[in-house]
Structures are given as structure tokens and as C-alpha cells.
């Protein structure tokens, strides 16, 4: 295109569309613009923030992601990874050869072994092993892939949660959901591309877990709030009904259109569009949050009880399904409460009661609705828990487990994941991975792959460097792919 021949209107339109697509993680995704940005600039030396590798690089198996993040780190030894050897060694220290050079948060590495607290059995046609704390998951075990060999680099909550959410242990990098919003945009024009839901206790990683980092701020996760507006300020101020709001917006629009004609600044068109999308969000949000159209059977499947804080996780799982139905690209559901430094038996028992039914229900419900094929569900915490016991008189702790980054378990379902498999294994103490290790970077590479993205190509130049979710690491785990 010869710039001189571009008419005012054409260039305005072009810039506006580009502007809006780039700047608004929320919006216009249905227009398949990604191709326009996937190439075209790369033959030039890139400035900071120059788009690079946006759009899909290959056929996608998954269109959307629901990540059930078990914050605090559930004990794999009480849920997924049975270790008879630990029962045998209960109360005795781990051999020094195993623990040499390992750092822990609270315990000394020579602490004694603690036997798994619950009995395990095999379920489904796949014969996957689970403890008796996961009876609902046991029913859908043939739909999921259990990965017993996940590893991380971080042994404290905040850094480890940040690592799983952003690929880096310190705050400041974009969340996975932000990369997805940036890379492949949204399919909704009235809801955010990347939504954050929460139940349970406090989150160590905090807002940095859904930050857009150095990506444009519009790709940040939008936290839905428990109290008041689900999206901050999505309701009209006191005293305004829909007509008063629309009247105000009409006047605003007229004025802004006048300014656009007078000043010719394409940013004004973007502003007009942003206000119109805000208006659409104002009507979409209440409809989204109202579960009245869900059948009693569906509510019962999840154990959801609208408005009941005791059913918070179940309510969030159902809300997550409603969001992906409406085109949200990535829903992060955080459930905090798994940090069992003391009394791991009671702790796991109580958390599993809150989480097991709804997690399994989400997979079943997505399947019934034909959404599981292209919706990726992920379940897991930020690290595992030690085979050794944690006990401390000063802290008043006993029969707990400390943080264990060397090996832990996650499961995944739908969206191109091979169902009914168990991948990886740990040694007889559950200490180290001995088969098919899956590092956090590999997990990210695999998730992006399922969404049609080559993790080495989706990059963003910041401070002179092309950053990506997987840093300079990561391999797609082929054995997990259907």
C-alpha cells in the first residue's frame, strides 16, 4: 500500500481496528484479525512492544482454558501418588543420599518419613490410582490424564505460584492468560478474554499472577469479585437506571464523534468503541452471574449453591463454564487452602470435600455440552509436599508436610489431552521424578501447543529482549496429546 494514496478514511479505519484489537484484550476477537498481525512487520528491526508471532501457528485442539489452581499445594501423597515404601519407613529419616543439597522452607532435610494418610485403589478402565479422598474424580478418571511427574524450581508459595502462572518466579511477567489474550485475542465482545475467579483463603502470589506484565495492560486478567460488582464498576452508580446511563452514553458519543470529526485522532474512535463495549459488558455481566437458567440437575452435579460461601468453589466452577460458553478465552479459578504444614490428614480431607465434586462435575458438564473437546481443563497446585513429616514446637505444628518442588501431581482433561492415561512416575519415596519429567516450562509449552501456539514463536520485545512464556526452555509433552 502506498501511504500517500491512503485516504483519510481508510487509514483511520485501519488504525482504529488495529488499535482496538491491540489495546483491548477485551473485544473484537470475533473478527479474525490475527492473521494481519502475525507477520508483516518482522522484516524490520523491532521496537519495544512490536507485535511478534501473534495468531495461531498451527491447528488448535483447544479454544479455551479453565485452570483450577489449587493454591497452597495439595499433597500428592494423600491424593494421587501412593508410596507403600513410606508406610514401611514411617518415622525413620530419609537416606542422606536422597536429600543432599535440597533446601526446604520450614524443616531440616533429615526429618522423618510420614506414611500416606489414606488408602489408594485403582479406578476406571484405565486403572488409574487415586486415594479414597477423590470419589468423584474416580468416576471420570477415564476422561483425564494424570501427570505424576511435574517439577518446579521454586520452594516458596509466592514465587512458585508466580512461576506456574507466569513462567517466572518474580512478579512482573505476563500471566499465561495474558499471553493467550495477546496472542489469539478473545471470542467475546461483551466479556473479558481473561477472567480470574477465586475461592478459599488468601493467595500468596497475589495480583501479579494475573498481571499483563510488560504486555499492554488490557491483557491483564479481570478478577471477578465476590462482593458487589463482579467486574469492578460494572453497575451504574446509585440513582442511574439503564435509560439514564444510555442517555449519558448517547450524549458522550455525540460529543466524541464531533471531536473525532474535528480533530481526526483515531484514538477517539477507539474511545467511542471502548465505551460501547463497556455498555455491553454492563448488560452481559448480570446475565452471566444469574444462575436462574441452570437446571437443578446441573446445580446438583456441581454442588453449586448460588450465594452460599460454603459452595464457593462449586459456584466458581459453574461460573467458569458459563464464561467459556460466552467466549472467554482463559478462566483461572484459584482455590486456596491446601498448605498443610500441620495435620495433613485433616487438611486434605476437608479441602477434598470442597473441591473434588465440582472439579469432576466441570469435566462431566463440559462433556455433556460438547465443550470438552475444545476446552482444556487443568488441575493442580504450585508444588508438592514432602515425603518427610513437618513438626515444629515453636510453630505448634505436627504431622504435616513441607513444600516439595521436586515432584508433584496434576491432571488435565479435554482440549486435545489424551484421556485415561497416567504419565510419569516418582521414586519409591515419592521424592524425585524418575520417569517422564514434566517441568513447569514443559507444561506451558504443551498448553500453548494445544491452543495452536508455538511457544517459541509467541514473543514480545521488552527492554531489548524477546520474552516468551517459557523463557528459553520448554518442550511440548507429546505423550499427553490425544
Amino acid at each position: 500500500m502506498n501511504p500517500a494514496e491512503t485516504s483519510m478514511n481508510e487509514s483511520l479505519h485501519l488504525l482504529t481496528r488495529r488499535h482496538f484489537f491491540q489495546d483491548c484484550g477485551i473485544g473484537l476477537g470475533k473478527i479474525g484479525l490475527s492473521a494481519a498481525f502475525a507477520g508483516g512487520f518482522s522484516h524490520l528491526a523491532k521496537a519495544d512492544g512490536a507485535p511478534s508471532g501473534r495468531g495461531r501457528h498451527h491447528g488448535a485442539r483447544a479454544k479455551r482454558v479453565i485452570y483450577l489452581f489449587m493454591a497452597g499445594a495439595p499433597s500428592q501423597l494423600e491424593l494421587f501418588d501412593d508410596k507403600p515404601k513410606l508406610r514401611e519407613l514411617d518415622g525413620k529419616p530419609i537416606p542422606p543420599s536422597v536429600i543432599a543439597g535440597q533446601r526446604y522452607a520450614f524443616i531440616q532435610p533429615d526429618a522423618a518419613v510420614l506414611a500416606p494418610c489414606f488408602p489408594f485403589a485403582r479406578y476406571g478402565q484405565s486403572g488409574a490410582e487415586l486415594s479414597d479422598r477423590l470419589p468423584y474424580l474416580a468416576r471420570i478418571v477415564d476422561e483425564i490424564a494424570i501427570v505424576k511427574s511435574v517439577k518446579t524450581d521454586q520452594f516458596n508459595h509466592a514465587p512458585a505460584q508466580l512461576f506456574l502462572n507466569t513462567g517466572h518466579g518474580l512478579p512482573g511477567r505476563p500471566a499465561m492468560g495474558s499471553w493467550l489474550s495477546y496472542g489469539i485475542g478473545s471470542e467475546a465482545d461483551d466479556l473479558p478474554a481473561f477472567v480470574v475467579l477465586k475461592s478459599g483463603g488468601s493467595l500468596s502470589g497475589g495480583a501479579a499472577m494475573w498481571s499483563a506484565g510488560f504486555l499492554p495492560g488490557s491483557h491483564a486478567g479481570v478478577p471477578f469479585r465476590d462482593a458487589g460488582d463482579p467486574i469492578l464498576h460494572v453497575s451504574n452508580p446509585k440513582g442511574y437506571d439503564a435509560k439514564a446511563q444510555r442517555d449519558s452514553l448517547d450524549l458522550l458519543r455525540r460529543m466524541n464523534e464531533g471531536a473525532l470529526a474535528h480533530l481526526g485522532d483515531p484514538e477517539i474512535q477507539t474511545r467511542i468503541d471502548a465505551y460501547e463495549m463497556a455498555w455491553r459488558m454492563q448488560s452481559a455481566a448480570p446475565e452471566l452471574m444469574d444462575f436462574a437458567d441452570e437446571s437443578p440437575a446441573t446445580l446438583a452435579l456441581y454442588g453449586a449453591k448460588p450465594g452460599d460461601p460454603k459452595a464457593a468453589f462449586a459456584n466458581q466452577c459453574l461460573l467458569a463454564r458459563r464464561l467459556v460458553e460466552r467466549g472467554t478465552r482463559c478462566v483461572q479459578v484459584y482455590h486456596a487452602g491446601w498448605d498443610h504444614h500441620s495435620q495433613v490428614e485433616n487438611g486434605v480431607k476437608s479441602q477434598a470435600l470442597q473441591v473434588d465434586q465440582a472439579s469432576a462435575a466441570l469435566v462431566m458438564d463440559l462433556k455433556q455440552r460438547g465443550l470438552l473437546d475444545d476446552t482444556l481443563v487443568i488441575w493442580g497446585g504450585e508444588f508438592g509436599r514432602t515425603p518427610m513429616v513437618e513438626a515444629s514446637a515453636a510453630l505448634g505444628r505436627s504431622l504435616g508436610r513441607d513444600h516439595h518442588p521436586q515432584a508433584f501431581t496434576m491432571w488435565m482433561a479435554g482440549g486435545g489431552i489424551r484421556p485415561g492415561i497416567t504419565l510419569g512416575a516418582t521414586d519409591e519415596l515419592g521424592f524425585h521424578v524418575v520417569e517422564d519429567p514434566v517441568h513447569v516450562h514443559d507444561l506451558h509449552a504443551t498448553i500453548l501447543h494445544l491452543l495452536g501456539i508455538d511457544h517459541t514463536k509467541l514473543t514480545f520485545r521488552y527492554q531489548g529482549r524477546d520474552f516468551r512464556l517459557t523463557d528459553v526452555h520448554g518442550h511440548v509433552v507429546g505423550k499427553l496429546l490425544a
Binding site: S7, S11, L170, R225, M255, A259, R271, A274
Partner: protein, 992 residues
């Protein structure tokens, strides 16, 4: 296609004197090599593929065994060209797996021409010292202003139409926001219009001077600086607890208002503590690098996070003063810029030799109040002592003597630890400083010779307060636990390798923080590291622990004592002293506060009596009441260089990993630059002075570019934190260098620099965009028009409050809490609630809003405000629906709209055409201009329609207005609705 356009202009037009035909290494070749070749054939020799580098002439032209990558003068014989055009996937460069685009035919042609012309390499422009270039002739703008002459030259031949000056109303609003961060008042606007009508130039100069002199100037420019300084009022990470470092923020505001020269501004922030006889202000200034985050999560390795803080300090220093992205070199030699892995850690070492204390910031008023109260207490105690009952005192003293035994202080012969430095003080106590870990062991050798000939029966450990310790000690804990506490896990004693057994222990006080454990004195010899003794909650007080020996010890010359401090956070002792007793029988610790009757003076004993005895209860209560009135001094975080005998070594870390320290690296600036001069110590102060010396080619360029970015919306170097090989070339390199030299020569004055820039014609141009400008230069790189950009969230809030007459003029002090929904902080860890301030602090300028890292104030964050987690050289300016929701529905803006309506309405009461007058006032307050005819019609119609609905009760005025603020009428409510629309106008949220 925007990228193409400005590249095109930057390349072809903005470099005067270059013919389009001439190939420039700087402009044409290096960007290609850097982007597509250096990753594998660059500075990092470890990762160089095929042992080939293309980063220097020597490397590129090296004989590779009969052929060369680059054969100067002969592109046909250059393997590089053959590889660029090869069809063989195994041969072609860049290789397909690199994800790098292939060279286009035009680019290959450029490469050939460059090689045929001799393959000349040039030093990267940013690493060459700026010299003042000659001023170009005055150009099409007709302005003689140096800035305009450079810009005219840059634009010459572009065919871009240039805009004339903006109208004076736009100008006063633009300047007011740019220099003060606030809109002008109606009075200021009117005064300027009147003056402008007389003499536009004189009026502009006077306006600039007035705004530069306004205290709001410092508050506005401090915001930009605090983005770089990653300032926040909390520690970050999981716990994100509050910290007190606002005295540093206030120092920055003062520095801007006082126009502290930028070289001094730099030196004081990086190394104010190392200046001769530093003032309190100069020490407070070192808070700059204390704005790093502090991880207080239980169980972390504190030294790992100190390392991360150091990485942040290096990155921030590089970005702010050198325009260098040092981050890459943390893990390996920079692939794109000439910074080696060792260079990185040498720079790290310059900054890595400080301790990080918290100091009190005495304010003259508070200091006087404290002294007065202390004198009253002293006086009252003196009088009380004078009238004590002698018999009762003697009885008490006898009792105390009965409980006590004489103690002999044991002089330390040797004191070492795993890491902290232990030093012997004149009173024979030990003082620990430096870095502490989760498991510290102090090994002491104590001299028993003062007790020669006697048998030791018990040991006493006194833990002592010290002003150098957190919260005055006695412990050194500074995170997770209570500041100034300690946790003594185990004490072991030996004589000549023979362990001594303890048979009992007692303490003046015992309490541990975090967890339900008991602080029994016996815990220190139970062999369990997880139990121990602490005096938590009584920080700043002296206490003691007494350990009885199972067998009396006689005939030994030295006692070896080992103290273990083991907790899930670093909790070593900071100051302590050891003594021994030789008395037989029941030896126990004294109650809290009781003096040692065998060591204290008569006066001390009498004072202790009136402090402790129930006889003097009334006096004790009076003193407690006085102490309660004693104002706390504010504190702030600062740097303190370590003494020469306690330098912290810096290692190179393999792959940048904390756990992989390698060889020790000596402090130095990166080798690409001229070194710190001989005779100047290579330390933090040496670095600070070097940064603002002529040896650093970048400090002034980076500083003037930032000022340019703030005033023109886009830097001359667009990548304002990166001037390296990967950065965008400056759009106007000569202008940048001219400004940099000018800035230094006029004494590093930012006010003069700002004045220089805003008095140019370019700054004052109309910001309307015509189609040709939009098509050819959408980013306005060539400045044929005035800049337009969205205001920040802070400016939007301040502007709305200022227009509404609500903005407080109070400056400085601890952070305040403007209203926002509680749910914003609910998402963060912990239970710190956001309790909205009431009254005046609610309306304090946004600079003073409490900045919580994990839950930044929502209305700023949504407009791309900082989180304080990283140095932020440039904010994004996004344009999103969530911003629209904030401006439309956030009660804070609604409150401003109501106040605006009330203000405009009360001013127009009784005026003949009241509606028009109210509307006029609203427009002039928010937009600094009256409405035009069409706007008047539309807004009045809107007002009328809403008024009608309010009058019928369809909408409720009482819901839109708050009765606390004045009368509630449908008319006023409708005006509040009008004001709300005005605050949402694109014009209101843009500086045009």
C-alpha cells in the same frame, strides 16, 4: 504499517546530510545484524555458532579456512551473502528453526552494497559521547528556537503540512497538565487569555515560570521519577506488609521543586550516605534503591531474595542512567549489547556493599515534643526518688540482693559465625551485623581468667537493645517475624572439647512470635532446634537468660560457647553479653526491669525502685501516660556502606542463578565504557559520580529523552529504557545530543530543560491531525503537529477533584486511602483492609495515595499505572472498556461530578440565564473553554430530559446527590449528571 512509516521517516528524513543512497552501518546494517544474526553470532562467545561472530569487523572478516564471512569490498566472495540467499535449508541464514525472518531482496542488496563499500563498522551511536552539533538554519516553522531548527531540518522534504499554534485555551490547559499535573483554574485561564491577547510570547514565558514555581510542579514530576524508582508503600510478594519510606517520596518532591541539579540528584540517591558528613536529606535520598521488594513469606531463603533485590538494583541503575538493558547479561554475556557476564557482576559489585537499615527521620517539631516529654519524665522521676521511703527502699534492695548473685562479665577472645560479623564492643558485649540466614551459629571463645581460682556455677546471657538494630533490637530479625526479635534455639558450652551440661535455666522474660510454642528458658539446651527462647513483643528492652551448670567448672582458661539461631526466618541476636557467676545455690534470672544490685549504681537502684515498687503506682501511671504522649518519629529505609573490614564479596553467578556462585568479581563499570578514574574508589559513590561524569555517554541523553517523552508524548528514542543495539534509533539524533550537551552545560537543571522544551513552537502546535499527517506519520515522530495523549489515572483523579474544588493542598506525609471498593484489596494476601480515609486525606493528591504493590489503587492501575514491582521507564497508554467503566461508574468520579455541579450552580445562582451559566462554568472548569452552540444545545437538552425524569420521581435526586453535601433538588441532580458526562469526554481525559 505505523512501524514502517516512522522507520521510514526516522531513517530517511531525520538524519540531515545523509543521502538516501549511502549505506550507513549504524542506520541500515547493524539493526539487521543485531536482530537476525547476533543471537548466534554476537558478543556471547560461549554461544557463538560455527565459531563465527559478526559483531566486529575483525570477527566478521576472520579467515575461516580459505574463505571469510565478510570479504570487505567483495560481496561476491563473502560467505555471508551466499548464506543469506541460499535455497538449501541446511545452509540458509538465518536458519528456519531460529524463527527469524529471511533477508528480503532489498535487504540483501543493502548488505552487498555495505560489503562492497568496505564493510565499515561504526561504534554504536549511544556509546559515543555526545558533542554539541551545529544548529541547523531556521526552517519552515520560521522559529529560531533551537528545538524547532532541529525539528524543521528533520521534517524537511517530508511534505508533511505543519500545524500552527494551538489556541490559547488549549495551550494553558496543556502546559498546566504537563508541568503541574492539574488543569488550570478559570481564573488562571482568563488571566492567561488576557495576557496572551497583549503579548503572546511574554504571556507564555510568564505562565511557564509561574507553573515551574508552583509546588504542584514537584508533585507532578516526582510521579514520573517514582515510576522509575519502583516506589511503593508495601514490601511486595505474598505478605506485602506496609513499609515506611514516604520520607524518600517527599524528598523527591522537594528535589524537583528546589531544582536540585540532576547530577547531585543522582549522586545523593545512589550514594548520599557516602558523601562527607552527609545531611539527613542526603541519607533519606538513598531510599531510591531501598524501593526493592522484600519477601516476608515464611521459610524463604532471605539471601536469595536479597540477590533478587540486587538484580533489580542493577537493572534499574542500567535503565535509568545508562539506558542499558543489563538483564540479559545476568545469565550470560549479552548477545546484542557489548556487556559481558563479568561486566554485569562487576556493576553488581559496585552496588553490593551496603547494609540496609531503617532510620528515624527526626522532624524538628516532633523532636522538640519528645525532648519536652523526656524532660518531664526525668523531672518527675527525680522528684519521686527524692521523696521515696528510705526504709521501704532498703527492704526492697535487700530482697533484690537476696535473689541475686554477683556476675562477672566474660571478655570475648574470639567471636565468629557462619556469616554475620561479630564485633566486640567497649562494654565487652558483642554486636552482630551484616547478612543473617535462617540458621546462624555464633562461635565464641570467652576468657575465664577474671575468675581464676574460682568455680563457675552459672552463665548469664544478656540480650541488649542497640539503636543500630531493627526496632532497637536486641535481635536482628527484619522480616516475617517482629522487627528486632531473635530466636535462640540452642546453647552449647565446651571446655577444651569437653561439653558442659546444664541443669536448669531461667529468663527475665520469654515470648516467641508466630506459632503457639512456649519460650521456656530450658528450650535452649533440649537438643531440639525448633524450640527456643525469645523476648518477642519486648523489643528495645534488655533481658537476660541464666543457665546453671550441672557441675561447677574450675581450672579452665577459656570457655567455648556456641549459640544456634534456627527458625523459618532469619532471627540472630544483634547485641548481647556473657557473664559468669561463682556463687553456689539457687541462681535465677531477675524479674523484668530489675537492675543487677551488684552492678548498678545507687542512683540507678533508687530509680528502679520508683519504677517497679507498688508504692509508687501513681507516679508510674503518670509516667506511662507521658510516654503514651511521646510522638513516634517517622522512619525510612536507607543504604549504609559497609566498613572496609566487612566488604560483601560479589561472585559471578553461573546462568545468573543464585545457587551457582562462581569466581569473585571486582567492582567496575562495563568495559565498553571509560573506567571509573584512578584515585576514585570503585564503590557506590564512585559509580554515582561516574554515571554523571563525561565518561558516561548516556546519563544526560537518557534524562533529556525522558523529559521529552513526558512533554511530547513519545521519546526521541522511543525505547526510553533501552539505548542498546536492539533499541530504536533516535528520530532526531542531533537534537538529542544538542539537548544532552545543553542540559549538562546549563548545570543539569531540569527546570531550565523543561522551560527550554515548552517554549519551542513545536510544543505549542495545534494537535489536530490532518489526513496526510495521519497517513504518513501516524505516531507524529516528526512533530508536524502538537502531541495528544491520554492523561494518567492519577491526573484524571486530581483533575476531577481540582475542577470540583475538592483537591486538598496538603503535601507530604504517610500515604492516604482515597475511596475504592473493599473488594480491590480482598484479592490480595492477608487481612489488611482498605479503610477509606475520611475528611481531607480523601482528597489528597494522587501522589500520596497509599501504594500497595499486590493491590494497587484500582483507578490508577486500570489506566496503566505502576505496580511498583519493576522500574517503569514508560507507561502504556491503553484505551479500554474497563477505563470507561471506571470513569462512568466509580463513586469517586461520581462524587467529583456532584461537587462540580454544586460549585457551578452556586456560582450561577441568580444569573439571568441560569442554565447557560451553569453549563458554561462546568465546561470552563473541566475543559478550560466554554461550550460552542451545538454543545450548548445538546447538553441543555440532556439536562432538561434528566431534570424531567427527576422531577417526576422516575429518577431519584436523593440517590444521585448526597444530602450531606447540601440541598438535594432535581435541578442539581441533573447538573451532576451533566458534569459526569463532561468528565468522561475524550477531550476531558486527553491532553490535547
Amino acid at each position: 504499517m505505523r512501524v514502517c512509516f516512522h522507520r521510514f521517516f526516522a531513517a530517511i528524513l531525520a538524519v540531515p546530510g545523509l543521502h538516501a543512497q549511502e549505506v550507513s552501518f549504524q542506520r541500515d546494517i547493524r539493526p539487521l545484524l543485531s536482530d537476525r544474526c547476533f543471537k548466534c553470532h554476537g558478543f556471547d562467545e560461549e554461544t557463538q555458532e560455527a565459531d563465527l561472530g559478526l559483531h566486529t569487523f575483525a570477527a566478521a572478516t576472520r579467515d575461516l579456512g580459505g574463505y571469510r564471512a565478510v570479504a570487505p569490498g567483495d560481496s561476491a566472495a563473502s560467505e555471508l551473502i551466499a548464506r543469506l540467499v541460499s535455497d538449501d535449508p541446511g545452509e540458509v541464514m538465518p536458519p528456519p528453526k531460529s524463527n527469524k525472518p529471511r533477508f528480503s531482496p532489498e535487504e540483501v542488496a543493502l548488505m552487498k552494497r555495505w560489503i562492497d563499500g568496505g564493510a565499515k563498522y561504526e561504534e554504536h551511536w549511544a556509546f559515543v559521547k555526545p558533542v554539541r552539533p551545529p544548529l541547523p538554519e531556521a526552517g519552515e516553522s520560521g522559529s529560531d528556537h533551537p528545538v524547532d531548527r532541529f525539528l524543521d531540518a528533520g521534517r524537511a522534504g517530508s511534505g508533511l503540512p505543519i500545524n500552527g499554534p494551538a489556541d490559547p485555551r488549549t495551550l494553558v490547559r496543556r502546559l498546566s497538565y504537563d508541568l503541574r499535573g492539574l488543569p488550570p483554574t478559570i481564573e488562571e485561564t482568563d488571566a492567561f487569555l488576557a495576557a496572551h491577547a497583549q503579548d503572546p510570547e511574554a504571556a507564555w514565558g510568564a505562565l511557564v515560570d509561574a507553573f515551574l514555581a508552583s509546588p504542584a510542579y514537584g508533585e507532578h514530576w516526582a510521579r514520573d521519577w517514582l515510576d522509575l524508582a519502583r516506589y511503593a508503600d508495601t514490601n511486595g510478594y505474598e505478605k506485602d506488609r506496609p513499609r515506611s519510606i514516604w520520607p524518600y517520596r517527599d524528598w523527591v518532591v522537594r528535589a524537583f521543586n528546589d531544582d536540585l541539579p540532576y547530577d547531585r540528584f543522582t549522586i545523593e540517591q545512589l550514594a548520599g550516605d557516602m558523601l562527607p558528613d552527609p545531611t539527613l536529606d542526603q541519607i533519606v535520598a538513598t531510599g531510591f534503591h531501598r524501593n526493592t521488594m522484600l519477601n516476608e513469606e515464611g521459610g524463604i531463603d532471605p539471601l536469595e531474595f536479597r540477590y533478587h533485590a540486587m538484580v533489580d538494583r542493577v537493572a534499574t541503575t542500567g535503565s535509568v542512567w545508562m539506558g542499558l538493558t543489563t538483564g540479559c547479561a545476568q545469565c550470560h554475556t549479552h548477545k546484542f549489547d557489548p556487556i559481558t557476564h563479568t561486566d554485569y557482576f562487576a556493576l553488581f559489585a559496585l552496588l553490593n556493599n551496603a547494609d540496609e537499615p531503617e532510620i528515624e527521620v527526626p522532624d524538628p517539631i516532633l523532636t522538640r515534643q519528645r525532648a519536652e516529654i523526656a524532660a518531664q519524665i526525668e523531672d518527675s522521676e527525680g522528684k519521686e526518688v527524692a521523696r521515696l521511703d528510705e526504709a521501704r527502699f532498703q527492704a526492697w534492695l535487700a530482697g533484690l540482693r537476696g535473689q541475686s548473685v554477683p556476675w562477672t562479665v566474660l571478655p570475648p577472645l574470639k567471636a565468629v559465625s557462619n556469616l554475620p560479623l561479630l564485633e566486640i564492643e567497649p562494654d565487652l558485649s558483642l554486636y552482630a551485623s551484616g547478612d543473617f540466614t535462617k540458621r546462624d551459629v555464633y562461635e565464641l571463645s570467652l576468657d575465664l581468667s577474671p575468675l581464676r581460682g574460682k568455680a563457675v556455677t552459672a552463665l548469664r546471657l544478656e540480650v541488649l537493645p542497640d539503636p543500630r538494630l531493627p526496632a532497637n533490637g536486641p535481635g536482628a530479625a527484619y522480616y516475617e517475624g517482629r522487627k528486632g526479635e531473635f530466636f535462640l534455639s540452642e546453647v552449647t558450652a565446651q571446655v577444651g572439647g569437653r561439653p558442659l551440661a546444664f541443669s536448669g535455666a531461667s529468663a527475665s522474660f520469654g515470648q516467641i512470635s508466630i506459632g503457639s510454642g512456649e519460650a521456656k528458658a530450658e528450650n535452649v539446651y533440649d537438643g531440639d532446634g525448633s524450640t527456643g527462647w525469645s523476648t518477642s513483643t519486648r523489643e528495645g528492652e534488655a533481658h537476660h537468660l541464666v543457665l546453671k551448670l550441672a557441675e561447677p567448672l574450675a581450672g579452665a582458661e577459656t570457655l567455648e560457647l556456641s549459640l544456634l539461631f534456627e527458625r523459618h526466618f532469619a532471627a540472630g541476636l544483634g547485641r548481647f553479653r556473657l557473664s559468669a557467676a561463682t556463687a553456689a545455690g539457687g541462681i535465677a534470672a531477675l524479674p523484668p526491669g530489675a537492675p543487677d544490685p551488684f552492678a548498678a549504681s545507687e542512683g540507678e537502684l533508687r530509680r528502679a525502685f520508683v519504677r517497679l515498687s507498688p508504692d509508687h503506682k501513681a507516679h508510674q501511671e503518670a509516667v506511662a501516660a507521658l510516654r503514651g504522649k511521646m510522638p513516634e518519629l517517622p522512619t525510612t529505609l536507607v543504604m549504609k556502606e559497609r566498613p572496609p573490614h566487612h566488604r560483601r564479596p560479589t561472585h559471578r553467578h553461573h546462568r545468573g542463578e543464585y545457587l551457582s556462585p562462581k569466581e569473585i568479581v571486582a567492582p567496575a563499570v562495563p568495559a565498553i565504557f571509560e573506567p571509573i578514574p584512578e584515585g576514585t574508589p570503585a564503590d557506590r559513590l564512585g559509580l554515582a559520580k561516574w554515571l554523571v561524569s563525561e565518561r558516561n555517554p548516556l546519563a544526560a541523553r537518557v534524562a533529556v529523552n525522558r523529559a521529552w517523552q513526558s512533554l511530547f508524548g513519545r521519546g526521541i528514542v522511543h525505547t526510553s529504557g533501552d539505548y542498546g543495539y536492539q533499541s530504536e534509533l533516535p528520530s532526531h539524533p542531533e537534537l538529542l545530543d544538542w539537548l544532552a550537551v545543553e542540559f549538562v552545560e546549563q548545570g543539569w537543571s531540569l527546570k531550565r530543560l523543561h522551560r527550554l522544551l515548552v517554549t519551542s513552537a513545536a510544543y505549542r502546535r495545534d494537535s489536530r491531525i490532518d489526513p496526510v499527517q495521519l497517513a504518513r506519520d501516524p505516531d507524529n515522530v516528526l512533530l508536524s503537529r502538537g502531541a495528544r495523549f491520554r492523561l494518567t489515572g492519577e491526573m484524571l483523579r486530581d483533575g476531577a477533584l481540582h475542577a470540583a474544588g475538592l483537591l486538598s493542598s496538603k503535601r507530604g506525609g504517610p500515604g492516604v486511602y482515597p475511596p475504592q471498593p473493599e473488594s480491590v484489596v480482598d484479592l490480595a494476601y492477608g487481612s489488611e483492609a482498605w479503610t477509606s480515609s475520611v475528611g481531607e486525606p480523601r482528597y489528597r493528591r494522587s501522589l500520596y495515595t497509599f501504594a500497595k504493590r499486590t493491590a494497587p489503587f484500582a483507578a490508577y492501575l486500570v489506566f496503566d499505572g505502576p505496580t511498583g514491582e519493576n522500574c517503569l521507564p514508560r507507561r502504556e497508554r491503553s484505551n479500554t472498556p474497563l477505563q470507561a467503566l471506571t470513569l462512568l461508574n466509580d463513586p469517586m468520579f461520581h462524587e467529583a461530578a456532584e461537587a462540580l455541579a454544586r460549585r457551578a450552580w452556586s456560582g450561577a445562582e441568580g444569573v439571568p440565564d441560569e442554565s447557560r451559566a451553569v453549563l458554561d462554568a462546568l465546561f470552563r472548569r473541566v475543559l478550560s473553554r466554554p461550550p460552542d452552540g451545538r454543545e450548548q444545545e445538546d447538553f441543555l437538552a440532556f439536562h432538561e430530559a434528566q431534570w424531567a425524569r427527576l422531577a417526576t420521581g422516575e429518577l431519584k435526586a436523593a440517590e444521585i446527590l448526597s444530602a450531606e453535601n447540601g440541598p438535594v433538588t432535581p435541578g442539581l441532580a441533573a447538573w451532576a449528571m451533566v458534569a459526569r458526562v463532561l468528565l468522561n469526554l475524550n477531550e476531558a481525559i486527553t491532553r490535547g
